[in-house]
């Protein structure tokens, strides 16, 4: 029993010793390189610690071992459709790639083909080979791989469009480039020009437009401020730009750069293009529906409807620039077919109205800025004064009434005589007469002098009134009296 246990232990120890020996023999040619040549990216570190995915790469197989066959040109594999698949992989291709320089081995991607003879491989055609092998990227770059699953390309793949881009279509299989600075995570300068070229492999017509555009032309001159494809369309989760949502949110894509003074000041461009767009009702509608109803099909224009989608040109461009009214008119006419040459000026071209530009709008605005506070303030003041006077009159009259009751002056008797219904005076006082009524009552308080003054200013007698012209007799009376006074004076 004990002897059997010792035997088993010896066997395991022997196996371990052999394994260590074999590993020590091969080691210098394969691993450890990632830790020497550069800081591993998070993905590689995670991968090194967590090699749970299957199949586990057999790191005992060196690149030299693979290149023993695949380093020789002229080797092919016949696919099911009869197409030959070139099996030649130039050694320097992989070695100069970001993977090769970081020391990754062939078998770290080609995990199931380490041994020779290879396990059986079946592929209908060359595209099928790419699609099958593309899954390898997921092992290390799972985040990017998942993002790409949300892209318009992945949607197209699912819909059976086999040509739709997968990882290696853009990044290549063996000459994968470093695109970001590992420290700053900023796009490397040469990546700016490389990326549009990759997109151009499929989207060449668009690339040709882009190259001629104000952005593309500047890029070819080494300007790194300009956007490339990914700045507008995104990187891995590239969304379908034909959706209403993309359309609705497109102004904010342009605004990323065009409201940034750091970039715009270099070129003397306005950073108020978004604000002025939103201030106009075209823009108002767009930005509201972006928030409210992203699926809403709106008929208002967004930036690219006027400025172009990929062939964006300078507004001052003598051929295509929007400052040429005819170019802008053509854009207007897409939605306003009846528009004529005057019509484009209805859009203020991102200008803020001033005395010089759109002066009519400026002066209308100025007019209302003065007119609104003036009228409303004046009206409010008059109404408040009216209320004050009415309330004060009411209080005075109440005071006068109490005084009357005490004194019993002769004056009120007249009032009652003329107005037969006894309830009448109080009724009018309550409903409507508050403003006019007091003149009768306060007369009690008035001095004799004041009374006389009032009588002279009022129409002298009813006979005069009836004989004089019907319109505004008081007016004429007053005028006459004033005139005569002036003459006398």
């Amino acid at each position: 029993m004990l002897r059997r246990k010792i035997g088993l232990f010896a066997l395991l120890a022997g196996c371990l010793a052999v394994a260590i020996g074999v590993w020590a023999f091969i080691a210098p040619s394969v691993p450890a390189a990632p830790f020497v040549q550069g800081t591993p990216t998070p993905e590689t570190a995670a991968e090194a610690e967590n090699p749970t995915r299957t199949p586990i790469p057999n790191l005992s197989i060196s690149d030299e071992y693979c290149l023993g066959c695949h380093g020789q040109p002229g080797q092919t594999f016949t696919l099911e459709n009869g197409e030959p698949l070139d099996l030649y992989v130039p050694a320097e291709l992989h070695q100069s790639s970001v993977h090769g320089r970081l020391g990754y081995a062939c078998v770290q991607c080609h995990t199931d083909v380490g041994e020779y003879p290879h396990p059986p491989f079946k592929a209908a055609d060359r595209r099928d080979v790419t699609l099958q092998l593309n899954a390898a990227c997921q092992r290390c770059h799972s985040h990017q791989f998942e993002l790409a699953q949300d892209s318009v390309h992945a949607d197209a793949q699912l819909a059976g469009e086999r040509e739709a881009a997968v990882c290696v279509d853009c990044h290549t299989a063996h000459e994968v480039r470093r695109l970001n600075d590992p420290q700053t995570h900023q796009l490397l300068p040469d990546a700016h020009t490389w990326i549009p070229e990759r997109c151009a492999l499929c989207h060449n017509a668009i690339y040709q437009k882009y190259k001629e555009s104000v952005h593309g032309a500047a890029l070819s001159q080494g300007n790194l401020d300009v956007p490339t494809c990914i700045d507008c369309h995104g990187v891995h989760n590239i969304e379908d730009p034909r959706t209403t949502y993309f359309r609705l949110r497109s102004p904010s894509i342009c605004a990323k750069c065009h409201t940034n003074p750091e970039i715009m000041n270099k070129y003397g461009l306005s950073t108020q293009v978004l604000d002025t767009y939103v201030a106009d009702f075209h823009g108002t509608t767009t930005v509201i529906f972006e928030k409210q109803a992203p699926d809403a099909a709106i008929n208002t224009p967004v930036c690219y409807d006027c400025h172009g989608i990929h062939d964006i040109s300078k507004t001052t461009d003598p051929k295509t620039g929007l400052q040429m009214r005819s170019n802008l008119l053509a854009r207007c006419q897409e939605c306003h077919p009846d528009a004529n040459a005057n019509f484009p000026a209805a859009w203020m071209s991102h200008y803020i109205p001033s005395r010089e530009r759109y002066s009519i709008v400026y002066y209308v605005d100025l007019f209302y800025k003065i007119f609104i506070p003036l009228t409303l303030g004046g009206m409010g003041a008059l109404v408040l004064m009216d209320i004050t006077r009415t309330l004060l009159n009411r209080r005075r009259k109440r005071a006068a009434q109490t005084a009357e009751e005490a004194v019993e002056a002769g004056q009120p008797a007249l009032v009652e005589q003329v107005r037969p219904a006894p309830a009448d005076p109080t009724e009018t006082a309550e409903t409507s007469g508050t403003a006019a009524q007091p003149e009768a009552k306060p007369q009690v308080d008035l001095s004799a002098e004041e009374l006389q003054v009032e009588e002279t200013s009022a129409p002298a007698s009813t006979e005069d009134m009836t004989t004089s012209a019907p319109e505004n007799p008081t007016d004429k009376e007053m005028d006459a009296s004033v005139d005569s006074e002036a003459k006398n004076g």
Partner: protein
């Protein structure tokens, strides 16, 4: 008018003769009703379009279909208002051609004097309120303020409704100018109605003559003394010794 012709029996003290005075014709009252209706609808459908950045507006106009619907209602009400305005102007022109257009509503120098005296009265500089004719300066101001206000609204509204047609004759800049004018004038008109007009016809005194068409003798004596005297040949102020004893 016929009521005014009746002599007043002043000696029979207990008998109270209630006279009413025609102030607005049926047509004028209909015009006012149409104005109320169209103005309210235009206001209710216009304000959410103006204050588009607010929560409630975005809640109300949350889809392009709703914006479209609200605009359609706004346009229909605008047509109603425009029809009312055209009728009003046309009617005035017809009356003018027949030399029967009343001059009551036109501002005169007397209105300036009345306004001045009213201001003095409100500032406690005089105890006397001005005596008014058929339309006082406040009523004329209301009429003409809204006359020009609605003129601006109608013109700018049609510029915004048919920009392609308008720019055939006018420079494009009129469109954003009309947009600003329409937007600002709407607010002024709405506040004007609430602060000025509602105050004068509801709070200061409830004046329903625009709906009934009539004013009582009491109201005539108090608020349209000159007109009352002109129509009846009597003194408006019952407290005046001369007028009362006559």
């Amino acid at each position: 008018m016929s009521a005014a012709d009746q002599p007043v029996n002043q000696n029979a003290a207990p008998v109270r003769v209630e006279r009413v005075f025609q102030r607005f014709t049926l047509g004028q009252r209909w015009e006012h009703l149409i104005l109320i209706l169209s103005f309210t609808v235009l206001f209710l459908t216009g304000i959410p379009q103006k204050y588009r950045s607010t929560e409630w507006s975005q809640w109300l106009l949350s889809t392009p279909q709703r914006v479209y619907l609200v605009r359609q209602i706004h346009h229909i009400a605008a047509l109603l208002l425009t029809a009312g305005a055209i009728y009003h102007l046309g009617n005035a022109l017809v009356l003018l051609a027949r030399r029967r257009l009343s001059s009551d509503m036109f501002p005169t120098l007397q209105d300036v004097r009345d306004a001045w005296q009213m201001l003095r009265y409100l500032l406690f500089l005089t105890r006397e309120k001005p005596a008014f004719d058929k339309y006082n300066f406040e009523q004329k101001f209301t009429y003409w303020f809204l006359f020009f206000g609605l003129g601006i609204m109608v013109i700018s509204g049609f510029i915004l409704w048919f920009p392609e047609v308008v720019t055939r004759f006018l420079p494009g800049g009129v469109v954003p100018a009309a947009f600003l004018a329409h937007s600002n004038e709407a607010v002024i008109a709405a506040i004007f109605i609430v602060v000025w007009h509602f105050f004068h016809v509801h709070f200061q005194r409830l004046n329903l003559s625009m709906f009934t068409g009539k004013l009582s003798e009491e109201e005539m004596r108090l608020y349209h003394a000159n007109e009352f005297e002109r129509l009846t040949g009597e003194k408006a102020d019952l407290n005046e010794t001369k007028g009362g004893s006559q």
